[in-house]
């Protein structure tokens, strides 16, 4: 017997119909735990002129994966290694943004869709995409342009197939940033939600949707939990769920995180662990850990594990 998975439309219907309930002090408890972890670091951060220090999901993931790499990515930006996947992600993301903002207006087809998406990415410059990604999109032409257009249209169609049409009174919106300032703004936890439904003054629970253009990676689960933590502490009401939808080349995958206390505690624990890693970095004794990121690590050339042949 097979049971069909509920569509995203059905899940949203259920979550948005739930009553919004006070967090009963949960946000304060979580915040207190995070503040306590920053406390011992503060003097060192200020002395090193590292304030304000922003930790987003990539930096947290890097620090938890390997403290050498985590410290390095805090200190400098590295060039995008694989431009095409980033460019495809950006295009899909902006198509979703267009779809939400126009409340589900029909998307153009084929090359017209790609051209519009490219223009939207360019118009959004300064909002994140690296120069090399914009250059890649600007350089698409001929058969390559047509192939990218087909790919974008197919991914967008698959992704949005089971989404409900955005409704004004459910406060659909895009690119919503959430931050938590710790120690008076010395450390900032930061995230940007791709799509948000409900919440704010809508009178409904919040649901966060993350859009991906490749396969589901293991760290996406941690990112969902981090976003749930940000929204809970900011709004003092936990979101109902964080959903990641990935439109890969062949199909759509979805991971759903319904938010509860255990999930939020886990997310806070991960931030505390990353701050512990940062403390070791600043003390000059970061823990180097082998991972699947090692082959593309930007500090590989000075890594002890590599020198010792352990990765």
């Amino acid at each position: 017997v097979s049971v069909a998975e509920p569509t995203l439309a059905e899940l949203l219907e259920e979550w948005l119909a739930r009553p919004t309930v006070s967090d009963d002090g949960l946000a304060d408890t979580l915040l207190g735990r995070l503040e306590a972890a920053v406390g011992p670091l503060l003097a060192r951060l200020e002395a090193g002129r590292l304030v304000p220090l922003t930790l987003d999901k990539e930096r947290l993931e890097a620090m938890i994966g390997c403290e050498r790499r985590g410290g390095a990515v805090l200190g400098r930006t590295f060039p995008v290694r694989e431009v095409d996947p980033v460019a495809r992600g950006l295009l899909l993301d902006i198509v979703v943004r267009r779809w939400v903002t126009t409340l589900g207006a029909e998307l153009p087809r084929g090359e017209a869709l790609l051209e519009e998406a490219r223009q939207l990415v360019v118009a959004d410059r300064g909002g994140g995409p690296a120069d090399e990604v914009l250059a890649r999109l600007d350089g698409l032409a001929g058969e390559e342009f047509a192939a990218w257009a087909d790919d974008l249209e197919a991914r967008a169609a698959r992704l949005l197939a089971d989404w409900p049409r955005p409704e004004e009174d459910r406060w659909w919106r895009t690119e919503e940033r959430a931050v938590i300032g710790l120690a008076g703004g010395a450390v900032i936890l930061s995230g940007r939600f791709d799509v948000v439904v409900g919440g704010a003054a809508s009178g409904r629970p919040t649901v966060i949707l993350e859009v991906k253009s490749g396969r589901i990676w293991p760290e996406y689960g941690a990112a969902q939990e981090f976003y749930a933590l940000l929204a809970t502490v900011r709004d003092r009401i936990p979101p109902a769920a964080v959903v990641t939808v990935a439109a890969g080349p062949l199909g759509v995958e979805r991971i759903v995180a319904e938010v509860d206390v255990d999930l939020l505690e886990r997310a806070a624990g991960r931030v505390v662990a990353a701050l512990g890693g940062l403390e070791r970095v600043l003390e000059g004794r970061p823990e180097e850990r082998p991972s699947e990121r090692c082959p593309t690590c930007p500090v590989r050339s000075s890594c002890h594990l590599v020198a010792e042949g352990r990765v």
Binding site: V51, R173, A200
Partner: protein, 298 residues
Amino acid sequence: VTAGETGIGGQEHLVARLGEGLEGFPPTEVVLRAFDIGRACPRADVLTPEEPFRASPRTARKAAGVWSEIRLLSAADERLTPYEAYRRARQGAPPGCRPFPWEWLAADGRGREAASRAERLVTAAGAVTLVARLAPLLAPLDLADPERPSTTSLRVTARSPDAEVRRVTLFGRLDLLARERGRRVGVLVRTGAPGILHRRIAAYEALVVRLQGRKLDAVLLAFPDAGRVERLPVDEELLSEAEDVVVAAVRHAAVVADARRRRRELHEVDARSGPECRYCPLGDDCPEGRAWRAQLGG
């Protein structure tokens, strides 16, 4: 001495302080905006192109979002969605309120350039999100008569002890002006989380308003990303802090202008390391930046 007249927060007081702060520099024309308050590293700033302020979709989306919020506050008895607030904002200004130049987004209003269809769409997307976040923050404040203030500027002529004249233009731009229980409040909408820089920017904006002889009782800092509002009374303490901020920023600008004029080598200009080192184009060519990164093992 009453704050805001000839004492703290007054023009004479500020001019005297600017004169002292600029002693030793050749005549300089300095233009300051709130953006300049956060500048810290003279070496990096010597590299920064001296571009005039140019409107971008990023600034447009904030301006349109704030304007939609004004429309929403003006219709406080109705439960508007962010989309409806944005739509109404485009349709017209509330009575007594200076209209927002929507043609700036719609046609050839942005200098010689027209905003493209794509730019208009990303602006609308950002405005809707901003008003969704601002609405629950500002609604409990009971703000009345909201309006978008005009950009303000003030030219201060400072005569330093060596009798050379410097002109300093201070540009101010509060996002929103309103009354709260009869008191005049200016609202600043800022991204990110509250920090020391935001207090300095609020102080700067309060000083510009005061120097123009207008009354402002408090500055409200609204942080939609953080879900917080902070209220700073405009008093002698804040205005005194603002004078310090202006003097430091003008001195910083004079150092940068002087280094450019004299075509100084970058290593001859002082550097101040900080989080900006992460993005600085000088990279490892700057010893201070290298040292800053070294503490992170990079």
